[in-house]
């Protein structure tokens, strides 16, 4: 009898709990449509994108007015050396802030000793390099180039939105290297580059720790044999690719890279 009573009590409790929960849920769900709500219009959509370099002309933002005619040709701008790749990831332990300040030791200032001929030569060489680098600095109209291949920015957004840890920087760098290498080798039949036909193919590429392509197969074909062949040829020619970082060696060997060939992305 006691047990039955307790069961009834329990099921009543459950029913009440259910009704109250439902009520709260309905209140929350319908609140934007209720007349007293002052927040129902304040829904904002946020889309996360990565802006590639130099595409302001296509985005309705005018290019900065130049005081004169441009000094370099489109072709010269393309030849300007690309910026060096980002420095390798910093190990975590080097980022540790020392807890104790080292005791200051006042050292006697050493007298400058005469420079050896080698040192003078080295200084001159460095100065020369510095000057050439200065000369090569990108001109203002650099921004008119639609997009730099090495920038790594894609319309899909940043490859990994949380690339803040050292491992992720390395990951992005590896992606950029692979992308540049395959792009270099991709000779698309000319017709496809000019047409607005959405040809897309996906290729899975498995890579051994030395960076060599050991297996590649189509995950998705474009429907055009010529397009698919050109993509597969690019993969074959690009081998050996960059040596994968330690953290990725297993992934690229077992799961592989997923390479999407999609010229339309450039135009969007």
């Amino acid at each position: 009898m006691d047990i039955l009573f307790e069961r009834n009590l329990f099921s009543k409790f459950l029913l009440r709990s259910f009704i109250i929960h439902l009520g709260v849920f309905l209140l929350l769900a319908l609140s934007p449509y209720l007349p007293f709500s002052q927040y129902h219009r304040r829904i904002e959509r946020i889309t996360w994108i990565t802006l590639p370099k130099g595409m302001t002309d296509t985005m309705g933002m005018p290019i900065k007015k130049s005081p004169d005619l441009p000094k370099t040709t489109i072709q010269e701008q393309k030849e300007i050396p690309k910026p060096p790749p980002p420095p390798p990831a910093v190990k975590e332990d080097t980022l540790k802030i020392p807890t104790k300040e080292a005791p200051k030791v006042v050292k006697p200032i050493p007298k400058p000793r005469p420079k050896t001929p080698e040192e003078i030569m080295m200084e001159k060489a460095l100065a020369r390099i510095g000057e050439t680098v200065k000369k090569r600095a990108a001109p203002p109209e650099m921004a008119q180039i639609p997009q730099n291949i090495e920038s790594g920015g894609t319309p899909y957004g940043s490859p990994n939105p949380s690339d803040l840890t050292p491992k992720d920087a390395e990951y992005a760098l590896y992606q950029t290297k692979i992308r540049g290498r395959i792009m270099e080798e991709w000779i698309l039949p000319i017709a496809y580059a000019n047409q607005n036909v959405p040809y897309i193919c996906l290729i899975v590429v498995k890579i051994n720790p030395q960076g060599e392509v050991i297996q590649s197969y189509f995950e998705k074909k474009s429907g055009s044999p010529a397009f698919d062949f050109s993509a597969m040829r690019a993969i074959e020619r690009a081998s050996p690719l960059a040596i994968p970082p330690d953290g990725l060696k297993r992934e690229v060997l077992t799961e592989g890279l997923l390479v999407e060939f999609n010229p339309q992305l450039k135009k969007d």
């Binding site: 040709t73 297993r250 592989g256 997923l258 010229p263 339309q264």
Partner: protein, 432 residues
Amino acid sequence: MKKIFFIIFLLLLYSSPLLARVYIVIDEPSEKKFPIAITDLILLGENKDKEKWTSNLPDVLKKDLTLSGLFEIMESDIFPERDHYNVAPDRVQFSAWSLIGAQGLVKGSLEYANDRIIVELYLYDPFLGQKLVGRRYVAQPEEMRIVAHHFADEIMEVLTGERGIFSTKITFVSDATRNKEIYVMDIDGENHSRLTRDRSITLHPSWSPTGRWIAYTSFSNTGYPEIYVIDMKDKTQTRLTGNQTSNLSPTWKPGTNLITMASSRTQDTELYLIDLKGKIVSQLTRSFGIDLAPSWAPDGSAFAFASERAGRLHIFRADADGGNVRRLTFVGYHNDRPAWSPKGDKIVFQGRDQGAWDLFIMNTDGSNIQRLTAGQGNNESPYWAPNGRYIVYSSNQTGRNLIYIMKSDGSNQLAISAPGNCTQPSWSPYFK
């Protein structure tokens, strides 16, 4: 028992960490040129090939494709099939050609039949082992260049999806006879012929939208620059103006037989529209300061021109009736000879910078000015190919004025040879 299963399940879960594929997007092919192998033609039947068209015809083809800036012509010493006798699709060793990296392969045969030549030409894709184009031509020996240009057009059409421009022509001014006369040539600089014998100064030839006429300016009869047209059917010349003032830079309005010219008949130089009888249809500009060098948008809805109304010479645009004038260039101090692209999206013009003329390109609203030539003498008189991919212009970078062709991004600048100092080129439309 259940516990054991649960533990095994946990162990399995632990031993397979989630591995994701590294995702790579390739959204742009390289700028490498398309490697194409062009073999000599096989001579069938009796050997009457005095002019060596078996190699001359492929040479014309090679030059055309080089001018296009899209192809890398492969050297013949790495060709796998030495005798080239396998022309038919079922006999070509495609795997051998794809091994050397040829992405296109041109083969063909040539046969003399009475006074005519039968030429068969094929374009193959060695990787797919497919024939992309096959054509059979029956032509006179003197028409072999036309056959080559035609097949180059076919190659462009099938590989780019755009019509080739190799069968079009270029008209220009040359002083080869010491007088400036109008000439016409194939786009590879060959096959040139003189159209005028005015023994005077002729300037600014401009091809009509149908290709039937060429309008130009000549000082020959009146001693003043007047507008003339040549009928390309019978090569007759007709004078359209006779007002004994300056009548300059004739250009045709697309889709019409009307000519736009700059005339100083009312003291100031303004733009007028005249018909083929020389009658003024309308006056397009009325402003202080000279207006000249009109160039029409392909749909005829607007035109660009150079004007001094803002002090220095700059590029302006106006609607078809001459209204709604807008200034396009604000930089530089002497911008002249705008040419509106047949695709309608760009205007190329010559601008004076650091003491020399150079070519610049911009959007039709004047934004995004980019330089096409630099540090190579004077580069002048830009004019578009009918497909909007190439620009023809004159340059004196070698000391002598020559006609050059480049891609519209300024790459692949190649001189095409012709006698004398050659200037003021105008590209023909497609001939039907």
